[in-house]
Symmetry: D3
């Protein structure tokens, strides 16, 4: 069950409201790299966690933290929108260049939300929950979470670079720090369970006989004119310790020439396809 | 530039067409765990790859392979749909229980595609390209790719369990094998670049002073009644080698009580909010 | 800031797992009538609440409650999925009619989530955040919230009718009760602020001179052959106390015949449109 | 059956074409607060209306009116786009600041629609029909309709404030007026049917024994540190006349600690989850 | 301006309600081949029609007809849903096989719409307005419309084959007929304007010097192992009368090896990409 | 099976990087008129092609070409983004008007993709695969493809007009040329199969008795006040050679007054609807 306390997890200060930066910050709320995504992803993973219950707890605790991130980011957006002109008089009172810059704001911050945060990204596209990755497989989910936090920290760093508001920089430096931890905590689960050698290939419970292992460890060079880019993935023991990496170049098709024959009557096709 | 040869990458055989399994297979084509996603993800990452060009080549080669996976899966769907009844006479000729099972097929496989594969998942929801994760950051992208392949192999294993058609099992055992390789090849890039210690936190180019490092290495227990789930993430050196994991329990909010004050006139709010 | 306690807000018991009912329950999680929607709607309204701060508090408190509803519903879905057959052997062990019924389950409950809840509706369509209605206008938002809760209670009642599992009925009778309260609490805000007479028309701050009031109080009968359906809306004082309802039948267009003239060169139109 | 007359329902005049305002106006066509939504919402509600047929008629008549609103708004968008520069020569002929402002237009108004209205919102996001709320329950639908019209009038007022084109202001003052009426006409249905006391809780046909009424009338304070925001919803008779409002503070969870145990073999989970 | 008469454009009779067929019929309402799409497509094309005003009239008249098609199809869906069981008692009263078939219905027809039509397709996916194709170019729009009607008649024929309800067959035979006309009326516009020779290439107003005509008339064989499929498109005068068709086999790339070099500092990339 | 060669199909040169033009170019990648759409559309049509196999080959060859178009357009976007300012220092170094123009860029080109192409349109809306039109009917698919290429050439022409970069103009003149060919090659299939007379109405395999031919050849004038727009579609032999065009004016409804009667108990409706 969830509870709430009235203060924000972290201090939010906006020295100079900037409605364009408000638009940019939306990416950290409703973007695929944003906080709604991770909050919901960890929440749904927790609800489906089978096996050792400590992973469920871990997921739910961080889901709860991410909800608090949405909250302070939402406040940051609203503060950046304070003072955005909402009438033609207010617009006229501003410098034409500033006015031009306003063309770069999200119009729905005025028209739809009345100067408040929205669950959308920096293009105004609403977040959709298909981005909540929760497979029921602990290994796949941990990688998905590390990915989400990597994207999140990349985003926070880019936002940091794009503002010179001291309050915003301070808030983003907190987010950058938490994303550092969150990247590592999910990968630490994999390390604890035996590292890549123990966890790969995911799912590690697939019986060996379900896999055509002759195709499991070669890098396929599908290029007609490029040499194989060599590296850790083309030689040496595979990361799961079960095979040896190799290279397969200029592969020949192993399958048939696909052919579906004629269309049946009654299928709504052209007559010519049925003959 | 792309080229094509007329045979499939791998042999597709369907011993007993099964339109419900055709619906299930769609998840491997148009699901978030499917082949359109990885083909497009590696393609867009390749087009944006900066730095050592061998990663671009690697991405483009595997993108090309994934296009071939879409192709043979699409053929598998069409073969499973062969013989699905399309008229009431054909339906009536079938056993009522079989008929009932048909209620479980994707109606658009008859109505919209005429017994062919579609770029949709097993619920009939079209794939959308927001799932193409390509950040321009090599580390984030490699994790995203390993995640995608982990989800893909989980899916292929589940599909394998749900059919007893020998041809389909054979095709899926090939996919399971390729997903094994693909999981590892992306993680091998990280290993080659110094492993987690070298690559974390992502982006590893963020200047230290942009991060409020006091918050970078503690696990936050946001639960009111649960002890912290302990593990690799709560003690010991952090995976990036820069810090020491610790625990922060029952955290107090560090921020203010958010307050936006009154609404301004002209904002389309109720009068009571402006007073 | 959010916190969590480990127990569910309400007891969840499933006497006889039913994967089809699991699919139906998803509507209460990820449907437009579901709990993700209200949790996020009240959360975003709270973050944008201007004016009397007690409405912000009220919104945030109920947002927090709705998060707890997602949590126990998610558990209910997972419990209903326990025992769903995931291999052909398990399927074969079941009665063919039961097996046929399984055609009615959400395939992604096996393929994608591994027998866990997903943030999707009963068609498997992911929830998208465009359904978070938060205008910054207190009156509009209160109506939106009462609407959401009305839809929610309609849904919970329909789900109640479709199961005879005692545990599920008990859980739904709790949801039905909370939806009763939530419908009323949002409408009670309107009552407290002077009722419909005080709050209508929304926004009540729009200056009278921005409204062409000659068109504000007639019901427009656009039918060519039906008499006006008469009722409270066709006669008597308007609900905002500012006008008198009336009827306008068989209205004549008041505007011009629209005409855009020729297309300009350089607009990518056919030549014939430019002449 | 529908018919059409060639003139617009209301006069549209644009004194000074403004392609940025065209982008803003799109919110009134294809936004969730816009006319496509209400036209389709009333249309689908009408098609599903059971009970007294006068409500069906009422819904269909207003659906028809809203179609006419789309029509004149679409003309207004096209007129505002007249004269937008479509070639680099035309762009160069303009003032650089004006040019900069053009960065704020919707590029698809040139690239995709050729200077015409589109069924998208002011971010260019297409309207999707999931926003057509039609439950089959008259009470829920009337609230949904009043909500839609409240959002619509808020939007029209905000648009009014953002233009100083006399023609556009005139057109918007008509829309503001019709939204006034439409808000009231749907709420008048509820009043006619006995008001909130008669219609709440929606659905009012749910048998009392389906509701755990012990939880029906308290406001739940889920905050750890805030006093309950008191008001009409915390004391006095409930709006449905069936109960008495009260407060429940610092609620304890009533449910169990959720636990799904181990994962089954064959579910595509990691081995560690199955042990 | 739109008007309405109370009777349906065409008689709707359902002899034996069939909730699965109701689900299928939804494709004709809210599918990409359905009536909402064409109604809105012709409506938006009409609003943007520049040039000879008779095309605007034609578009608006048929848009209006399509609205009437939505209306009678919506009634057909509701009639097919009459009698669908909504309680466990009603379900139990039915034959288990029939019951199994019910697994194939759209659950939201009970849960969300209360036995009424919805603006969704046969998978329950809501229609979205990105499918309204309106380019402002008359030729492109006429092809888009003929395409939509071709898809529509294919769908109606498939639906016809899947029902043996005489009333439904009668209604569909009307739709099949109107789709026949509509396919032709849009193509007749092209014929009237000089046929393919006059209208191609679309847009026919693009200046010749904007086109690298050396690449305008060859069919590109990108296959490594297949001979060119020969036909009308590989030899003879081109359909626009401006060129001669030819074949280009095994094409060599004409462009460079793409290279983006190093990533800049400050771009949120990994350090290794910046060196 | 697919293969790749490392060079681009066509040379890409950007003389003066322009991040706003990068945003515009996205329409040609991820817009409904763009290359992802046609690549995937031809690919899925090929996989479902029944009948003469040469059409399958033709579709697959052109699908392969379109993949190469995505590739060089993606490079063009990345080159146009080179030099876009990513830090406040870089922004400050620029002219304020230029800076203002930057408000018109896609913020996700910096925040999400790190200066690379994305599978989105010029509004930043991701492409979704519902736009892949593949009906299994050759005639319908050929029209859909000609439509897609018409939209594509309209778009390429508009983009050509909006840039004065010589490199971009050169690349677009190649695209304009290939779209010329592609429009024609699909229509040439129809010509080869007997032209409109042979292919219409689509599907031409629908038995005559499934069509209520009395309604197949009249243009329906649904306007109350406009004369019928006359043309090729109102008189003369129909394009399929089977009928004679005519006009039907001021049509009377042929159907009944729809009536669904009362709602059943247990349907979650208001009590008043059940009486």
């Amino acid at each position: 069950m969830f509870h709430h306390s009235s203060k924000l997890q972290y201090q939010v200060r906006v020295d100079k409201p900037d409605p364009i930066f408000a638009k940019h910050l939306q990416q950290a709320i409703g973007g695929i790299e944003g906080e709604i995504r991770v909050a919901m992803q960890y929440f749904f993973q927790a609800m489906g966690a089978r096996g050792n219950p400590k992973y469920r707890d871990m997921l739910m605790m961080t889901a709860t933290e991410e909800l608090s991130h949405i909250e302070f980011l939402g406040h940051a957006v609203a503060l950046n929108l304070e003072g955005a002109p909402v009438t033609t008089q207010e617009m006229a009172a501003q410098d034409p260049v500033v006015n031009a810059i306003l063309g770069g704001t999200n119009p729905r911050h005025i028209l739809s939300s009345g100067l408040s945060a929205m669950p959308v990204n920096s293009n105004g596209v609403p977040f959709d929950m298909s981005h909540v990755y929760a497979t029921g497989n602990l290994g796949a989910d941990m990688l998905a979470n590390a990915t989400a936090e990597a994207g999140g920290r990349v985003l926070a760093s880019r936002l940091y670079n794009m503002t010179d508001d001291a309050g915003m920089k301070d808030m983003l430096s907190f987010l950058i720090a938490r994303d550092t931890m969150h990247q590592q905590q999910w990968l630490a689960v994999i390390e604890e369970l035996g590292g890549m050698e123990g966890q790969l290939p995911i799912p590690n419970s697939t019986p060996q006989e379900h896999e055509n292992t002759e195709h499991s460890y070669y890098f396929l060079n599908t290029s007609l004119d490029e040499p194989t880019p060599e590296g850790r993935w083309t030689k040496g023991k595979s990361l799961d310790g079960r095979g040896e990496f190799s290279i397969k170049e200029k592969p020949e098709p192993m399958g048939q020439n696909p052919d579906l024959g004629k269309a049946r009557p009654g299928t709504g096709t052209q007559m010519e396809q049925q003959k």
